[in-house]
């Protein structure tokens, strides 16, 4: 009569076991932990753990366990006091080369982890943290790119000994003015062959007696530049986030011009925003020794090869337009005190290209002055430029040198941090922020959990009362459904957010629908005078197409939600869709299996308790 073949029972058992194994990690709590990674993404030396162990012994902190996964070293502790103490001790012992972050490591036993089981990660709304959506200012990025072309063209022309009248930006393109037909031909050739000048569409134009060239940047080239700018910004952001010591940050591109930054568990959001949002960089420039800055400021006559800046006290400074080294050639910076004067200072390390250029410059300019310009990009393309230090070059230097003239050690360390974190390729601004404090996150978890449990229990009781034996079968299915849903979410590495919890709750409410449909059909068949066994079969068979149709239409709505939603809404859509799929399995196949076990084997069933 109503019997399932053995393979169906085996299939159901396998799914149940798999579901249980992957759902289980969620039952284990989390250990307060400290995570150590290299600040620049290098691998961790083998003896690092010994250094850390020693530091912990000195600090008198016991750890629960230690493990090294890929490039991170993880120490678990018994409580958060020990975790905080340890974090301080480790930071002190390792210095700025390593990122020491507080973390909550899941306490899943190794036996379960062997299967790849891991608990769901909690969303920012549940554990607290910062979410930023940042937009790259592409207009400014294009402008900067054009400025770079101008610089490069001027350099190339100078190197070739071509005396140009002018090279400048003109709207969205470039304009070059030359003195002769021959110069123009040579310039065109340079533009054609020079590797750093690819992607330009050049056109000849004549203006009076001058021979002009106008150039626009190819669309393809611009797109590539945008992509590069965005990628470089993401790298920079990643470096900055590392400086903050966040355990599991998310930094992702979203669309063509945006980046999502999520920092779970960050306590000091103001600091985070300052570091992430800062778009400052440094430029090293030579002081124009041949002209007087005050005269230039008063008369407004600035030599063509120089530009007028002002320092932090508002005094004018005349600097050469030619850049020596810019922020992106800088690979390290740390703050400290000048041993001779006791002034706060920043020690800077340059990369190979930067070091070479710096050495070239300082060799020829001992005794001359060099200035550091601090440039901060503001939203909308405005920028403030300020000369933060002017110092005499005492001796030639290249790779390493010091910048002094800072107001306080705080300013020095902030500047060092910004320098280390690198320069953004294009200015960015925060267009969306969602920050949840840790206590609100905790409250959300409690309330979310409570509402799931209460809603779930109410439905269980209601079903058992209403459909008796069949109701209990449906209850089992509902419970299994919850386990399968949680295991699927864990397997997919989904992030559980408050809307996700709402999705789970809603799934619980709607998952019984399939069973209600089936049971009402069975009752109907019984009323029509059919035998219990036939009624069961007819009930399941007839309800199936209805259930399928109804669920597919809901899936369509959930799918649209997924396509158009962002962040939390996507979470809701995912839980809802997965819930529909798992509930189809448990409510149809699962309950049928149990019902068949109860009633299927019997020859005569007098009455169904439904």
């Amino acid at each position: 009569m109503n019997q399932y073949p053995a393979w169906k029972y085996i299939l159901i058992t396998i799914i149940l076991v798999l579901g249980a194994v992957y759902a289980l990690p969620n039952l284990f709590g989390k250990d307060p932990a400290v995570q150590v990674t290299s600040a620049r993404g290098f691998s961790i030396p083998a003896d690092l753990s010994t250094t850390v162990d020693d530091a912990l012994v000195v600090a008198g902190v016991d750890y629960k366990s230690r493990e090294q996964i890929d490039n991170r070293l993880l120490y678990r502790f018994n409580n958060s006091d020990a975790q905080l103490q340890a974090s301080e001790a480790i930071k002190e012992a390792l210095g700025e080369q390593y990122v020491v972050a507080l973390n909550l490591a899941h306490a899943t036993p190794p036996s379960l982890r062997a299967f790849g089981g891991k608990p769901m990660t909690l969303g920012l709304d549940l554990q607290g943290g910062v979410h930023f959506l940042m937009q790259v200012d592409m207009d400014t990025a294009r402008g900067q790119q054009l400025d770079r072309f101008v610089d490069d063209i001027r350099t190339a022309l100078r190197e070739e000994g071509i005396r140009y009248i002018s090279v400048r930006r003109e709207g969205n393109g470039l304009l070059m003015m030359l003195r002769s037909e021959e110069d123009r031909a040579r310039t065109e050739e340079i533009l054609d062959t020079n590797e750093s000048l690819v992607g330009l569409n050049v056109r000849e134009i004549d203006q009076g007696e001058n021979f002009g060239l106008s150039a626009t940047v190819e669309e393809q080239q611009l797109l590539e530049l945008q992509q590069t700018a965005l990628r470089q910004n993401i790298t920079t952001l990643r470096n900055r986030v590392n400086e903050l010591g966040v355990a599991e940050p998310v930094i992702q591109q979203q669309g063509a011009e945006r980046v999502v930054v999520q920092l779970p568990g960050v306590q000091d959001t103001v600091e985070a925003k300052k570091i992430i949002g800062a778009t400052a960089t440094l430029e090293y420039r030579a002081v124009d020794e041949g002209h007087d800055a005050y005269t230039a400021a008063q008369t407004g006559r600035v030599p063509p090869e120089s530009r007028l800046y002002s320092d932090n006290e508002g005094q004018p400074v005349l600097l050469k337009k030619r850049l020596i080294v810019s922020g992106d050639q800088l690979i390290g910076a740390s703050s400290g005190f000048d041993q001779r004067t006791g002034q706060p200072q920043v020690s800077v390390t340059l990369d190979g290209v930067g070091a070479g250029r710096m050495l070239d410059f300082t060799r020829e300019n001992v005794g001359n002055r060099m200035a550091v310009v601090y440039i901060e990009q503001k939203p909308g393309g405005r920028k403030t430029e300020e000369v933060i230090s002017v110092a005499v070059v005492r001796e030639p230097f290249g790779k390493r040198f010091q910048t002094t003239g800072l107001d306080s050690i705080d300013e020095a360390s902030q500047l060092a941090l910004l320098l280390r974190a690198g320069a953004l390729a294009a200015p960015m601004e925060i267009v969306e922020e969602r920050t949840v404090g840790p206590s609100l996150g905790k409250l959300n978890v409690e309330q979310g959990f409570k509402s799931v449990v209460i809603g779930f229990l109410l439905v269980l009781v209601f079903m058992a009362l209403y459909y008796r034996v069949f109701g209990l079968v449906a209850d089992i299915a509902l419970f299994v459904n919850l386990i399968l849903l949680i295991s699927l979410l864990s397997m997919l590495g989904a992030t559980l957010t408050m809307p996700g919890i709402a999705g789970i709750v809603l799934t619980v409410g709607m998952a019984v629908d399939a069973n209600v449909l089936i049971f009402e059909r069975i009752r109907e068949e019984l009323r029509n005078g059919n035998t219990p066994q036939a009624s069961i079969r007819a009930g399941y068979d007839k309800a199936f197409s209805t259930i399928a149709d109804a669920n597919i239409t809901t899936l369509i709505a959930a799918f649209v939600l997924f396509l158009f939603g962002t962040g939390p809404i996507k979470g809701f859509a995912i839980t809802l869709s997965l819930g529909i799929v798992t509930s189809m399995f448990t409510a149809i196949m699962g309950t049928r299996a149990v019902v068949n076990l109860i009633y299927g084997g019997r020859k005569r069933v007098a009455k169904l308790r439904i």
Partner: protein, 313 residues
Amino acid sequence: MQILKGNSNFDFMGRSNIALILSAVLMVVSIGSLVTRGLNFGLDFTGGTLIEVTFPAAADIEQVRTNLQEAGLNDAVVQTFGAASDIVVRIPPRSEEESTAEISTVVLDALQTGVEGEVEMLRVEFVGPQVGEELTEQGILAVIYALIGIFLYVMFRFQWRFSVGAVIALIHDITISMGIISLVQIQFDLTVVAALLAVIGYSLNDTIVLFDRIRENFPRMIKSDPITVVNTSVNQTLSRTVMTSLTTLLVLVALFVFGGEIIHAFAFTLIVGVIIGTYSSIYVASTSLLRLGVSKFDLLQVEKEGENLDSMP
């Protein structure tokens, strides 16, 4: 236990004029409210800044206002919520230039001024003007695409009259749900959009179950007129409709009562939507179907085309 006797035989379609009037009144009130009162758009759509904090003791609202004004935030709106120590500050969106994430930092500093102990930040939300516009656009598009997808699926599985009936019912549900949200001025944010889409899914669920029964009954009740067929189908699915609505409402009420503030608007919208969705699948969808002139011939044809694998005995 049974709430409804299985062989209920209410004359639903006989009262369809009353339902039509009720629906018409609800629609007029809803649209009226949407036009005159409008929706209480949340930060997600308007842009702006919202900061929630807890003071160590009851907050001095006047002092907070003065502090904010001194910080140059004359347009800040300060309110308490829940306890007297909990404060929410809202700052309306500004021009693209001035609207930056920095504002929340200024506010937090201003709130801390003159307060002993630490003012704890609970939540900060900032949405820039450009993002708000996009979200509005996306929300509207999402609803439209969902309706189109559903229309096509129902047409494929049933017939165009059913599609039209289902979509009319859905538009009815969304309009009235939004009307009620507008009447009680619940804050309309992204979670409410998600709830409205879930209402579409839910209400459709009910409608499809009913349509399925109608499709099944037409060939069986070959001698009955369409009104009787629809009426019988509604009666046959009634106890299921009521049961599922009840269980769904049970969990939604649990979510509304225990789920906390951030899920309130979401749960409220769904509760309203489930009630209206249940009503509309009984009355609006089936009445539309009848008024569109559905008959047994429509479906016989579909049966031949689709030859459903499962629904016919």
